[in-house]
């Protein structure tokens, strides 16, 4: 269980990091909680590793015009326990607290989880429900990608090899918005069999805004637009929630593995969607 040999660089700034990526066939290392296990199994064998771990700019939390900017290098523990994040964007803090175990939360990062795009990872559900934006920087330019265009397939995102994620941009939650992340945990690994993130805002007895993000069910996390459309405008009664939750797997190709069959996953998705919505209401 020893990785293949590689060259190692540890840039001190984002500019140095993207310069290295432009000049080498390199892989970025953040917390290493996904990459190092893969390198030990030699499922990943990069020739060059660029360690982002000492770039202080990537661990910032800032609020700006209704948005919360979270640096890509923030650990799950930092996101879960930051008072500012808990207040301004409670869904992402709640989700972070559900990831893995204490040691993994001390090392694993927000940007790393997004970039890795494991179909069973927790953050992607919340990022979808939050309509997050991802800032990607390369040597001479940068771009901001909507989360809907970011997750492409299992373990595949819009990030190009010479790009790094510098931050995720999330909305500051409006007063009166309830949020919840509900997850059926795979008992050995802690990953989600299915996880559902919900944000609900009521206005005058009716649901004015509903956002639902789902992880674990499909190859990539997605927004359950059918559920959202059925909820918005409804009173949010038990029957409304049950009816809407039944639409969570509409048009979705559910994955099947040794932990859960696709039928079981569909069922769990409906149950956990209803739970997340009711908890958020």
């Amino acid at each position: 269980m020893i990785p293949q040999e590689f060259n190692y660089s540890r840039p001190g700034t984002v500019q140095e990091a993207v310069d290295l990526l432009a000049d080498h066939d390199a892989k970025v290392l953040a917390g290493g909680m996904s990459l190092i296990p893969l390198m030990k199994l030699r499922l990943s064998a990069p020739e060059h590793v660029v360690d982002l771990g000492r770039i202080p700019d990537l661990s910032r939390i800032t609020e700006n015009e209704g948005s919360l900017h979270l640096g890509a290098l923030l650990t799950h523990h930092q996101v879960a326990t930051s008072a500012l994040v808990q207040e301004k964007c409670p869904l992402i803090a709640e989700t972070a607290a559900h990831i893995g175990d204490a040691q993994v939360r001390n090392m694993g990062t927000l940007g790393g989880s997004a970039a890795h795009a494991d179909p069973a990872a927790d953050y992607p559900a919340a990022l979808c429900a939050l309509e997050a934006k991802v800032r990607l920087v390369r040597k001479d330019s940068e771009r901001v990608v909507d989360i809907g265009d970011f997750f492409v397939d299992a373990l595949t995102t819009a990030v190009e090899p010479e790009e790094i994620i510098t931050e995720l941009i999330l909305p500051v939650e409006e007063a009166g918005t309830g949020v919840s992340y509900q997850k059926l945990r795979q008992p050995a690994s802690g990953f989600a069999i299915v996880g559902v993130a919900a944000r609900i805002r009521r206005d005058g007895g009716r649901i004015a805004m509903a956002r639902v993000g789902v992880t674990g069910l499909a190859a990539s996390a997605y927004r359950a637009a059918g559920v959202e459309a059925l909820l918005e405008g409804s009173e949010g009664s038990q029957a409304d929630v049950a009816g809407a939750s039944a639409a969570v797997d509409e048009g979705i190709e559910a994955i099947s593995d040794l932990h859960a069959s696709s039928d079981y996953r569909r069922h769990v998705a409906r149950v956990y969607t209803a739970r997340a919505i009711l908890a958020a209401l």
Binding site: I2, M33, A102
Partner: protein, 156 residues
């Protein structure tokens, strides 16, 4: 490719030339000679290899030694001071928080951080906090008791 690293392990500064692919657990056990951190699974699940890196517990089988360059490491060997057991060690001793002891170095390190972050944890919070540490012997109840006792001792 070899890289020079400077680390402070249990209060002692060291400099070593290491291969960039050397895992922190192998560095600690084979280069430094500290056999306290154990290798249970080598797949980042069991937590037997847990050490503190700048005060945060990490699984040293999922880190590279080069990532620890310039940092402070505490292993289970660094818990006791002047022949006095750390309160967490004492609590595991008193409450029979171990049987074979294989998981214990990791349990102790994780417990130390757990009660630092949450000085008065409930049973449920203790079990949640120790999710990254597996024990094949005790059935966990005595470990939970030990963590509670350690928290009471450190807090009180």
């Amino acid at each position: 490719m070899k890289t020079q690293i400077n680390v402070c392990i249990n209060g002692q500064e060291r400099t070593d030339e290491v291969e960039s692919r050397l895992l922190l657990i192998h560095y600690l056990r084979e280069v430094v000679g500290l056999k306290g951190p154990h290798i249970g699974c080598e797949t980042s699940i069991c937590g037997a290899c847990t050490v503190a890196l700048n005060g945060k517990t990490v699984k040293s089988c999922a880190l590279l030694a080069v990532q620890a360059d310039g940092q402070d490491i505490v292993t289970v060997e660094g818990l006791a001071t002047d022949g006095q057991l750390h309160p967490v060690q004492e609590a595991f001793w008193n409450e029979h928080g171990l049987q074979c002891g294989f998981c214990t170095p990791g349990m102790l390190m994780t417990t130390r951080e757990l009660i630092e972050r949450n000085p008065d944890p409930t049973d449920e919070e203790i079990r949640h906090g120790l999710e990254g540490n597996l024990c094949r012997c005790t059935g966990y109840q005595h470990i939970v008791n030990a963590v509670k006792s350690a928290a009471a001792k450190v807090g009180g």
